[in-house]
Amino acid sequence: MDSLLRRCAQRDVTALEALYRATSGQLLGLLVAMLRDRALAEDALQEVFVRVWASAPQFDGFRGSAMAWLTSIARHRAIDLIRARKPFASLDELQLTGLEPAAEALVAPESSATGNALERCLRQLSESQQRCIDLAYVRGLSHEEIAATLASPIGTVKSWVRRALLSLRQCLEP
């Protein structure tokens, strides 16, 4: 996939198409989980690939996998869209319309754990810390929204997040 991105940098449209075929399903799944709106997520997916085409020459500076780079572009686009839209009218609305129906869209961590280092490190976190990381990264929730979802004070959520990130960093780079 990395070589496809390098070919995109040389303006090879067939490489962009191959990259799209290989990654668009996973990226759309993530965008839908974050935006909870299929049409909006498909628009965002378009913007992601327009961006990928334009920014492909910068991929070499990233020093990570092509999928990690595409994921970062998709997630930041989704977070920008989440920021730009009206805040949820109320946290009740968020809980009622947002989380429960989409919950089955998430693959249970156990089933996706193919022994990768990140999943192993995540399992070392407390259950609350794991929930925070999942809700923030995969669902695009803010500190406030996580606090409402977990019915916990925001200060507690912030410290769960901070400690989870510290532990993950130590675990992943001993």
Partner: protein, 229 residues
């Protein structure tokens, strides 16, 4: 403001996780633009957490997403537009067929449709906004939305040729909000474009400058490149 390495590390983690919001998020993005060490901390977190994305179940996109991407990149005549009523699809198909016929005839007349003058107008961070391309004899101009830019409803973006002899910029028309437009240029516009090395985009009242000269701020300038026809 100078941050400690530990603070940069924490901000980078929260930024990638998505919990850094509001003005703090924008401050961090500015910091990334200025400081390679901050970018490196951010990218390291992108790499560490990327596999979390696999927790979302894949969803196959609708077929029109890919054709819309090609359309927006100006790589294909396909203009996939999601959720368009059926009668409009027919109208678009019919007009595209007409256009293709007209184009074939026109191209048979001369090679006028191979762009020899083109420019890509970019925004922040080199993000492509629009592609501007003139046909071989500069009698037609095509403006294609790539990334585009959001502006208030009561404003329009206007494209100008900036003559290299220092003469007043000449309007080339309005920039479409979506998709692409192809416009016939008048003789004064054509001469101005051929005598220009740059195009500029200004923010004008809706419908364009009322006076014929740019009245609003110039928001973008792009170099015209000349291809061998």
């Amino acid at each position: 403001m100078k941050y400690s390495p530990a603070t940069i590390e924490r901000l980078a983690g929260e930024y990638v996780l998505g919990t850094l919001r509001g003005p703090a998020r924008q401050r961090f993005e500015r910091l990334c633009a200025q400081d390679a060490a901050v970018r490196a901390a951010r990218d390291a977190w992108e790499r560490r957490l990327a596999e979390l994305a696999e927790r979302a179940a894949p969803i196959a996109p609708s077929p029109q997403v890919w054709s819309s991407i090609l359309g927006r990149l100006g790589l294909s005549p396909a203009r996939g537009q999601p959720r368009r009523p059926r009668w409009q699809q027919f109208a678009v198909a019919a007009s595209l067929a007409l256009l293709a016929g007209a184009l074939g005839w026109y191209m048979a007349q001369d090679r006028a449709f191979r762009p020899v003058l083109s420019a890509v107008v970019t925004g922040e961070g080199g993000r492509p906004l629009w592609r501007v391309a003139a046909s071989g004899d500069a009698s037609r101009l095509q403006i294609t939305v790539l990334g585009g830019e959001t502006i208030p409803d009561d404003r329009s973006l206007e494209l100008w040729a900036v003559p290299r002899n220092g003469g007043a910029p000449v309007s080339l028309g309005l920039i479409p909000r979506a998709q692409a437009v192809s416009v016939a240029l008048q003789e004064t516009q054509r001469a101005a474009l051929l005598g220009s090395d740059k195009v500029a985009v200004s923010l004008e009242p809706r419908g364009g400058s009322p006076t014929g000269v740019a009245t609003g701020p110039v928001v973008h300038v792009a170099d015209l490149s000349r291809n061998q026809g």
